[in-house]
Symmetry: C2
Subunit: 280 residues, 2 copies
């Protein structure tokens, strides 16, 4: 198959590596000439260009730009495409993307590979990034089944686990498990830095160990990504945040009231609930 | 040196392994006969007993019981001790321990090795547990310097990094970096489980990946330990919790108000603050 990739960062580049490894012809487009050269050099693509015309021969195109650029990229791409070409994207929020892109191109299938590393850019691309990770597809009623099938088979060939759901259900779910943790984790870091005693603050930094390290990790991540997900998933994120504040308030009350039995019950619940997420 | 250890769990057992490895004579006491047998079998101690009389010959005794049992253990131990014996403990909250034990025995030095694994009990004991990890000592004005020196040198021989501070400063610091993360992490899990749509809840569990895994880890931990730290460090924990709720409220307001510049600034701050905790 001729596969186009627009945006050769961590996700786009890693897709290229895997899809080429599966024998497909991969064509990459990046705004940066340097990125195109690196992509060719690293074997991420067979050919690359800063010009979307390169994708005229593509059967399917993965849009791997930041969310804000997806719809405009599709608009610029359309004049160059074969009429039966399929477009899919890898944006981490689906409702605004699907609402903007589906009216532009029938053969569009929204997608979200739930995979990543701490790094970004073409030099962060690795093979096997999607293996055993979830990859969500969010077709809507008007999406042609044949297009869905093609994307599903490609994703399946990456050894990812494919899930299908409505764009809004996806966004509600990722508000809980991707976006809320960033804000919760950031609030932990922010709170600690409010310690006013310099002796204690120094101890805080000296003694911070694995518990703090893990709980604060995503709150110390890329600021642009954090803002982007809040912008595009604002409504569901606010709901999740309010629910989390309510939970925190209840825990605070149990501690203030010295209701140790009630607190033990909560911890037993969260222990058993978390083990449902991550069975040992 | 003759070293006694009361309580042969993860910490007590790991201390025994390292101290024996350094050539000390290690005597262990546990309430459970099975634990004593295991400790001898695994080479954690030279001799073990369910009876505190075994420790009559000890130069220094590490109390490694749960916090609630430390003071009563010291009381039971005193009749058997040489008058110049040194007592230290490994409790993760220091003010209540030091306040209870210092009046009972002059040669008492409060301690807290900031180290652990997910496991507990004698069979979780490992050598090298303390290496490169913080180990806090909290002597008070009345603590004899000679006793502090002995404990410091032993801790140093474990390759731990020794810190000295007041018991209250220790407890304030661990409220931020050990105890607050547990409650924050639990509130995240609790909030997610409030999702009412079964389709979304299933997706939540299917898509939960490393970000959620790390942020929720300590909130899914041992309920007894969670309650214990809240009981013994309640005052400082409540302050930390309130500060964290304030931070969360501010983040919620930024998202609700769509103040993306303000949110970006917060994320930039938390990113740079966290990098002070864990330099790359």
């Amino acid at each position: 198959m001729n596969i186009g990739i627009v945006g050769l960062g961590l996700i786009g580049g890693s897709l290229g590596l895997d899809l080429r490894g599966l024998g497909h012809q991969v064509l990459g487009v990046s705004r940066q000439d340097y990125t195109c050269q690196q992509a060719i050099k690293r074997g991420v693509v067979d050919d690359a260009s800063v010009n979307l015309t390169l994708l005229a021969a593509a059967d399917i195109i993965f849009i791997c730009t930041p969310i804000a650029a997806i719809a405009s990229t599709v608009q610029q791409l359309i004049p160059h495409l074969a009429p039966d070409a399929i477009i899919t994207d890898v944006g981490s929020v689906k409702t605004p993307v699907v609402e903007a892109v589906a009216p532009l191109w029938d053969n569009f299938v929204g997608g979200h590979p739930v995979a990543g590393t701490e790094r970004n850019g073409i030099n962060a691309a690795v093979s096997g990034l999607f293996k055993n990770n979830p990859y969500v597809l969010t077709p809507i009623d008007s999406t042609p089944l044949a297009a869905v099938k093609v994307v599903e088979e490609l994703v399946h060939s990456l050894a990812a686990t494919v899930y299908f759901c409505r764009p809004t259900d996806h966004d509600r779910a990722v508000a809980w498990i991707s976006h809320l943790p960033v804000l919760v984790s950031a609030s932990l870091i922010d709170a600690c830095m409010g310690e006013t005693d310099p002796v204690v603050l120094e101890l805080v930094q000296q003694l911070a160990s694995s518990g703090f390290r893990d709980t604060s990790r995503v709150g110390g991540g890329n600021p642009e990504l954090g803002v982007m997900m809040a912008q595009y998933n604002r409504e569901f994120l606010v709901r999740s945040l309010q629910s989390c504040r309510d939970s925190l308030d209840q825990l605070i009350e149990l501690v203030e009231q010295e209701d140790w039995q009630g607190l033990a019950q909560r911890f037993q619940d969260t222990q058993s609930q978390r083990s449902q997420f991550f069975p040992k």
